[in-house]
């Protein structure tokens, strides 16, 4: 099966090579058979990657311990669920998994647009094949997951051996989120290849109009949705598994996933400027180029350990390959832009500082500054080594100082932007749209301050969150009221009808509301508390209104590990409430241990209890308990964001009922009504 997988990978490399070279030849000669064959080679390359991935999965399930990758990431007692996760738990497998997900996107694009957009698609296929070739090169020649396990023999040659059992999966990865977090994040990383391919193709082909933006909107949103879910699942994993009480540590790998999200978010907003007003064309093309490059950089940072290691490139041989690919891609983008830059001529100018355009401009500027700040902070060790000769890193204070104000500005724009008119907004409309939200927001701030919200950033955050929520609520209310008056639907039905008639706009509002919930959750971090104590059995630890009583300790053997548990009774305001069981798991196969945090989560706060091991002095068990307010709102907000994105992906429902009702009244009136309703629902179509 490993031979089969290796051959499939090799053949896939050949097919992708043909899709690339044959595709270029097809563009030059316009020969229909060449176009067809290049396209089919692209599909074949994807199919072969599916086969290779399936054979690696098979090797895991058949416990084949003659393959180095299987030996290092699995063992016989590992549950089926985690044998799937083992596929992407190491470098070779996760690079194959990258190729696998990319192939799903590529094959979907090739099939969805079969026989359509004949001027553009050959270019798109060539760009996609180019990206695929890079990853297949790594899969085949640099980090092959099918490498047999070898030990140096007597004459210096490698002898192929098989082991009775594997080393097992890293305990930190044996957690349900680790099965869904990487596929989400990787689907985000790989998904941005599609808008990138279309943008570069449109530029190369000088494809007329904004069509590439319409074509890629859905793909970008799918990638963005996966990326968002991936980041939040990663944060939740860090929170629930690493046991340090936080969910975000500005670690290079976390930053790597955030950066393309920031530019991707900027892109999703700025394309509206191009669609509506024919502006920001150069900016959009470069945003999508940067997003793709940041995805590659993210994969590189995650896989190479270039930043966290003390010596650059010490940990991995793939570093130079990634740097080479990033440089090559950048060169191609620059050349394409330079050659066809007149194609990206802007059709309009900014009219007023208080307008939808300028809110998008500032939104983009701020997102980009955030990205540059995160990028420079992450690469600080590499950059300082070039500039000063010594490697210097910056920590959380740097990221927080810059990104907290940025986050608040973004939150402000989230409320303001969608309600500003295109071109210019009058003072009267400002008052009408923002009077109430601002008033209610300030009122909320005035209530929160005496209640203990004394941190300045948290207070601003509360005010803005309420402000944005009210603006969103008013939008839904106003629209639903109009629909209710026309159709007689109940209010909830009217809200649904409103949303379905302009999914993009109202789905967008739902996403914004999800972001508000996430901000509420993050603002709670200013009020985190924790306590740590050596605990003889029967002793208690007080934290806030909770009391933790250690009743006993027990130990339970499981299939793949042994767990040592604390049995902790939780009392709230001195009344018994529930039991928590924080545990430490010991994995015999790789002699490692892991923590299982016990969390009691409510909307108000999380009680987060860690069994921190035994005290070195007294050998008593140690409890480390945290009280983290509002954390649950982050995960809820994530769900709302994903839901909103799904809504925005739905096609708009035509307001057929309204037209039918109007027509019955009078023909002339109906026409005017139809035009008016069309104007209402599609002019503000964003």
């Amino acid at each position: 099966m490993d031979l089969f997988g290796s051959f499939a990978l090799l053949l896939s490399f050949v097919c992708a090579g043909y899709a690339f070279a044959g595709g270029i030849a097809a563009i030059v000669t316009r020969h229909p058979l060449l176009i067809k064959s290049a396209r089919q080679a692209g599909v074949a390359a994807c199919g072969l990657i599916f086969l290779a991935t399936a054979s690696l999965v098979y090797l895991f399930f058949s416990d084949n311990y003659s393959i180095a990758y299987v030996v290092s990431h699995s063992n016989r007692d590992l549950s089926t669920f985690y044998k799937i996760a083992a596929l992407w738990s190491g470098q070779e497998g996760s690079l194959l998994f990258w190729s696998f997900l990319l192939s799903i996107y590529i094959v979907s694009v090739l099939i969805a647009y079969r026989g359509k957009h004949l001027e553009l698609m050959p270019y798109v296929s060539v760009v996609m094949a180019g990206v695929q070739i890079f990853f297949l090169t790594l899969n085949n020649f640099v980090a092959n997951p099918f490498r047999a396990l070898g030990i140096p023999g007597a004459n210096g040659a490698l002898d192929v051996v098989a082991r009775a059992d594997g080393n097992g999966l890293n305990p930190l990865l044996q957690y349900p989120e680790m099965v869904i977090h990487p596929p989400n994040l990787y689907s985000g990383y790989t998904g941005f290849t599609i808008p990138f391919a279309f943008a570069l193709a449109a530029l190369l082909a000088r494809y007329p109009g904004e069509k590439w933006i319409h074509l890629t909107r859905k793909w970008t949103m799918i990638a963005w949705c996966f990326q968002t879910a991936g980041i939040l699942l990663g944060a939740h994993w860090a929170y629930a598994v690493l046991g340090w009480g936080g969910y975000w540590g500005w670690d290079p790998v976390e930053n790597a996933s955030l950066m393309p999200w920031l530019t991707g978010t900027a892109f999703l907003h700025s394309v509206m400027m191009q669609e509506k007003r024919g502006m920001m064309k150069v900016w959009n093309v470069w945003l999508v180029f940067s997003t793709f490059l940041l995805c590659i950089l993210g994969t590189f940072l995650t896989r190479s350990g270039v930043v966290s290691s003390v010596h650059a490139f010490a940990q991995s041989t793939i570093g130079p390959w990634f740097v080479g690919f990033i440089c090559l891609t950048l060169a191609v983008c620059l050349a394409a832009y330079w050659k066809n830059r007149d194609y990206l001529h802007s059709e309009n100018q900014l009219d007023s500082i208080v307008s939808r355009e300028s809110s998008f401009l500032f939104n983009n500027l701020i997102l980009l500054v955030a990205c540059v700040a995160v990028l420079s902070g992450t690469l600080f060790p590499v950059l300082s080594e070039w500039v000063e000769g010594s490697k210097i890193s910056v920590g959380a204070p740097f990221f927080n100082k810059v990104n907290i104000p940025i986050g608040l500005m973004l939150l402000f724009l989230t409320g303001v932007g969608p309600l500003l008119a295109w071109r210019k907004t009058s003072l009267e409309s400002l008052r009408r749209n923002f009077g109430w939200p601002l008033g209610v927001g300030l009122l909320a701030g005035a209530v929160a301050w005496p209640l203990g919200c004394k941190d300045i950033f948290s207070l601003i955050c509360v005010i803005l969150c309420v402000f944005v929520t009210v603006t969103i609520g008013m939008e839904f209310y106003r629209g639903a009221r109009v629909i209710r008056a026309r159709t007689g639907y109940p209010f909830v039905g009217a809200v649904r009808e409103l949303t379905m008639r302009n999914t993009r706009r109202y789905g967008g509002y739902i996403v914004h509301f999800g972001i508000v919930l996430i901000f509420i959750g993050i603002s709670g971090a200013a009020f985190n508390r924790d306590a740590q104590k050596d605990m003889p059995i029967g002793s208690t630890l007080h934290l806030g209104r909770y009391t933790l009583l250690l009743q006993t300790m027990d130990s339970k053997p499981e299939k793949n590990y042994t767990a040592e548990r604390m049995v902790v009774e939780v009392l709230r305001n001195d009344k018994p409430m529930m039991m928590l069981y924080p545990e430490r798991r010991f994995f015999p196969s790789n002699q490692e241990s892991g923590t299982m945090v016990a969390i009691y989560s409510t909307l108000r706060e999380d009680l987060y209890v860690v069994y921190a091991g035994r005290s070195p002095d007294s050998s008593l068990p140690v409890i480390h308990a945290y009280l983290n307010p509002l954390v649950k709102w982050i995960w809820l907000g994530g769900l709302v964001v994903v839901f909103g994105t799904l809504v925005a992906l739905l096609p708009n429902r035509q307001p057929a009922m309204v037209l039918a009702a109007e027509r019955q009244k009078s023909a002339g009136h109906a026409l005017a009504g139809a035009v008016a309703s069309h104007a209402t629902y599609s002019e503000s179509h964003d």
């Binding site: 084949n64 290691s309 500054v369 204070p397 923590t595 070195p616």
Partner: protein
């Protein structure tokens, strides 16, 4: 032209204030990377900086004392005595021979006081072939 100036000023205010915040944050959390062998060559202000040093934990050197954990970090043939004083429990991967990154300051007597320790297990199957080969040929499933 006036509009452009307004935009320019707005953008400049945002950029300058964020750059200033970034500079403050960077100054507060700057950490210098050094190898163990480089430490004796440092002079002047470089000695007082916050540093991050990598190495492997000398076998048998981990001593758990009240309020701190002492161990020896080895690298490039040199050894550094480290006292960990942080409040977080050490990671599970921190054992003899593990690769560790310590972050903190040097004291005048040459010890290193670490507030943070990260550890990574030494690579497994290449260095510790404790699972003896089951057979010398390819296993099943090929």
């Amino acid at each position: 032209m006036e509009k452009r100036a307004k935009f320019g000023i707005g953008i400049a205010i945002i950029l300058v204030s964020l750059a200033w915040l970034g500079w403050l944050g960077a100054r507060e959390s700057k950490t210098y990377y050094h190898t163990i062998a480089e430490l004796p060559t440092l002079t002047g202000p470089a000695l007082g900086q916050r540093m991050r040093i990598g190495g492997s934990v000398a076998p048998g050197s981990i001593k758990r004392l009240p309020g701190r954990i002492d161990f020896l970090l080895q690298g490039e043939g040199k050894t550094l005595a480290v006292s960990y004083v942080g409040s977080d429990p050490l990671p599970d991967t921190f054992v003899d021979n593990s690769q560790a990154l310590v972050e903190g300051h040097r004291t005048p007597d040459g010890r290193f006081v670490a507030e943070r320790v990260q550890a990574k297990c030494a690579s497994k199957y290449e260095t510790a072939p404790n699972g003896a080969p089951a057979s010398s040929s390819r296993g099943s499933g090929t």
